[in-house]
């Protein structure tokens, strides 16, 4: 076994272990802040997997968008809403957990069975595009995927406007019931939240 092959194997096993254990941590850890930082590790090692797959451009895009934007946003949101709160106990939580675990285990075994039983037609490595992939992605984006590309830009614009409108305090400053202007501070702090039923 040559050195390159061994390195690849070691890289792959370490990266996929980090992905899976990190994802388990994201889901299972008690502290939401730890989950968010572990999520960053998961994203980074997925970028590493992309590097193993010869896709350096997508790996960099993954780091830039997921780690640099999505994860930072998530951490920001956590810092804005992270208040110690005791969750209300709900009944039949345990049976829900058991059922969902069973469903997920069934699904994972089904997926793995499909993965292993189907014989995939592997293209020969000689036709691989390798480092030229950035150019090829550009060609695709401006020829056969031009419409999705343009639509994606509209989607991003819509998402930006939507996020600003939803998150700003002074946009929805009219009381829905009375139509009077309200002080947002009151809605947030002292006033009984409008949507909660009194019981």
């Amino acid at each position: 076994m040559s050195i390159a092959v061994t390195t690849q194997l070691i890289c792959f096993s370490v990266l996929s272990l980090v992905v899976i254990i990190g994802a388990l941590g994201v889901v299972l850890l008690e502290s939401i802040v730890y989950s968010a930082f572990l999520l960053c590790g998961v994203f980074l090692s997925i970028a590493g997997l992309y590097l193993l797959l010869n896709a350096s451009f997508v790996a960099a895009a993954q780091v830039l968008v997921y780690v640099g934007a999505v994860n930072v946003l998530i951490i920001f949101a956590i810092m804005l809403v992270n208040k110690k709160e005791d969750l209300k106990p709900i009944d039949n939580l345990k049976s829900r957990k058991i059922i969902s675990t069973a469903i997920c285990l069934t699904l994972v075994s089904l997926l793995i069975r499909v993965d292993l039983s189907k014989v995939w037609v592997i293209a020969s490595p000689s036709s691989s595009i390798g480092e030229e992939s950035t150019f090829r992605i550009g060609e695709h984006l401006f020829s056969d995927y031009l419409l999705p590309f343009e639509v994606a830009s509209v989607l991003l614009l819509m998402a930006m406007i939507g996020a600003i409108v939803l998150a700003r305090k002074d946009v929805m400053n009219k009381d829905i019931a009375t139509g009077l202007p309200v002080d947002q501070e009151l809605i947030e702090k002292t006033k009984e939240p409008f949507l909660i039923k009194k019981n």
Partner: protein
């Protein structure tokens, strides 16, 4: 670098496990932020699949990589809007517990 050492199936298995972890978290989290994180995990699992197929099966045209770029774009938009919705929910209900967002429940 050619990948003679790692089979395609290995990438697919990693992505299947990641996807199911995501689903489990989605079903069981009480914290709305964690639900969003689980959605990101599932999208990433799909991306690993697309990337693995594009590099093993279609390594000249690499359409899978283009799809991954689109998925990343949509995921970024989804995260921004999702977190904004979360913030305004938190403003109205002063909690991030998924169980208390039940106005649309029949």
């Amino acid at each position: 670098m050619n990948l003679e050492s790692i089979p395609l199936q290995a990438f697919l298995i990693v992505s299947s496990i990641l996807f199911c972890i995501g689903i489990w978290g989605l079903l069981n989290s009480r914290n709305a932020v964690r639900v969003l994180m689980c959605i990101e995990l599932m999208l990433n699992a799909v991306n690993i699949n697309l990337m693995a197929f594009s590099s093993f099966v279609d390594n000249n045209l690499i359409k899978g990589q283009v799809f991954t770029i689109f998925v990343i774009t949509v995921a970024a938009a989804e995260a921004a809007v999702g977190l904004a919705i979360l913030l305004s929910l938190y403003r109205n209900r002063v909690t991030v517990d998924m169980e208390s967002f039940n106005l649309l429940k029949w």
